[in-house]
């Protein structure tokens, strides 16, 4: 997956977790929490969806890496670059 494809994959997960939010204006360099109504259960949903959809395991110590779109994509790149885009 390319960087852009990984970003789309995260966006797709976010759309499911925050269905009331307009994600078209999401700023990649700002924390999710400053832009979206997300609580700790929602963050666990992001972690779970990455696990279920891509078998990516995010250890608890790395949760802070999922703070913004930019940091999330940067964190996932080495883990997902060899994966195919899910149809």
């Amino acid at each position: 997956m390319t960087t852009a494809e990984i970003r789309l994959a995260v966006l797709d997960i976010l759309e499911g977790i925050a269905p009331d939010e307009d994600l078209s204006t999401l700023k990649d360099d700002e924390p999710f929490r400053q832009q979206l109504e997300l609580d700790s259960m929602d963050f666990l949903d992001i972690v779970m969806e990455l696990r279920k959809r891509y078998r990516v395991q995010v250890p608890e110590d790395d949760y802070l890496e999922l703070a913004s779109m930019q940091s999330t994509v940067a964190y996932l790149e080495p883990l997902m670059k060899d994966m195919e885009v899910k149809g």
Partner: protein
């Protein structure tokens, strides 16, 4: 005995919110009951396949965000819809109601089966590796979930809990609400029952294994209490929640009053896991009558519990004949229209009769093509609604597995 109590100990219904398979408000539900319109439809559920059910069509997003619907449970959404509609209907000045003075008392037949079944189904796709088990499982399946979601949605900080009472739960919710108001534990009670049971395959499969799951080519004719050809239960979902207040408070704010909880009783069969016990049912009815200070012949309508099973209907009729022998009371049944809404059943069935205080009509029990002689009751209102000279009292039966019986009597005020 309620008669003679001071107004601050008399409990009245001042708001109603409901969703039934054939109506999403009391007006719609009543109209369907008088028109003989069923809410039973073809339905398909995992593992069981094609069957029948009573499914509700209320708009979940009227009072919830999509995210809250996703995070919560169907029972929570049913409860939130009914609670909001009841509050709106009550005319309470909600922004100025002390949220600490509101209690939430919600009857449930069961809770957690839907969510657990879904998780196990998902987990199967991951070879039962529990790393993939949702962190939402516990908050969705705790037994207080349907009441707790109402508290979260409405910002209510008084007590909230569910009352697990099998299919007697709707009445049990009303009783709990009335008792807590009398005890001074709350000033406004949101009380009733909810059910999400159509989403658990287990309830269908279990009734099927028990030989108690109804089937008919025409879904509208599948739920047929008292009929010779009845062959079991149609599972339904639904909810009905009242705003209950002390009569003194309701009068002080000039509230519209639907009726007074004039008497109630609960008891136990202590005889069988699933088979009813007509002697205990009769005792429960008599106890509620005694507490209301009413004789059987003073009850205008009995809303029966009958579910459409061979033995259950006959046994209830046996109990009713024992108590109401020679009385001019009319008997009807709402399950014949909507199926068995489990934890919501008693609450919906009582409520569908309340408009009779004004319109003086007793709705029918439908689908009685050939009355089973064992279910013959003088006063059974079969197939067509009946005009009456007036309705002042309604008695609602609701019974459940493990031998739990409940009776609520509502009086016109």
């Amino acid at each position: 005995m309620v008669a003679g109590l001071p107004d601050r100990e008399r409990i009245v219904i001042t708001g109603i919110g409901l969703t039934a398979p054939n109506g999403n408000s009391l007006a719609e539900f009543r109209e369907a009951l008088l028109a003989g319109r069923s809410g039973v439809t073809p339905y398909e559920i995992r593992y069981v396949g094609k069957t029948l059910a009573g499914v509700c069509t209320f708009d979940e997003l009227r009072h919830q965000k999509k995210k809250d619907v996703r995070r919560g449970t169907r029972a929570g959404s049913v409860g939130i819809y009914c609670a909001n509609e009841a509050i709106r209907d009550s005319g309470l000045d909600w922004p100025n109601v002390d949220p600490a003075g509101v209690g939430i008392y919600i009857g449930v037949t069961e809770h957690g089966n839907v969510e657990t079944e879904n998780e196990i189904y998902e987990l199967k796709g991951f070879d039962y590796d529990t790393k993939y088990w949702s962190h939402h499982h516990n908050p969705r399946t705790v037994a207080n979930n349907p009441a707790g979601e109402i508290s979260l949605n409405l910002g209510i900080t008084g007590p909230h809990y569910t009352i697990g009472a099998a299919c007697a739960a709707g009445n049990a919710g009303f009783i709990q609400g009335a008792q807590m108001l009398r005890l001074g534990e709350c000033d406004v009670a949101l009380a009733g029952g909810v059910s999400e049971s159509v989403r658990t395959f287990g309830i269908f499969a279990s009734f099927k294994s028990q030989g108690a799951l109804a089937w008919h080519e025409d879904p509208a004719r599948a739920s047929r209490p008292f009929d010779k050809e009845r062959n079991g239960i149609v599972v339904a979902e639904g909810g009905c929640i009242y705003v209950l207040e002390r009569l003194s408070d309701a009068r002080a704010r000039g509230a519209r009053i639907y009726g007074e909880i004039a008497g109630y009783a609960m008891n136990s069969d202590a005889s069988d896991f699933v088979l009813p016990n007509p002697r205990r049912q009769a005792q429960c009815v008599r106890l509620a009558l005694r507490r209301a200070g009413l004789a059987p012949q003073q009850i205008d309508i009995v809303s029966t519990h009958a579910t459409g099973t061979t033995s259950g209907d006959a046994q209830e009729c046996d109990a009713l004949r024992e108590v109401f022998n020679g009385s001019p009371t009319r008997f009807n049944n709402a399950k014949s229209f909507i199926g068995h809404a489990m934890g919501a059943a008693g609450a919906l069935e009582l409520t569908g009769n309340l408009p009779a205080f004004q319109d003086k009509v007793c709705h029918a029990t439908i689908n009685v093509d050939q009355l089973d002689p064992e279910c013959a009751l003088d006063g059974l209102v079969a197939n067509q609604p009946q005009e009456t000279a007036g309705v002042d009292t309604i008695l609602n039966n609701s019974f459940g597995m493990l031998g739990i019986n409940s009776v609520v009597i509502v009086k016109k005020i």
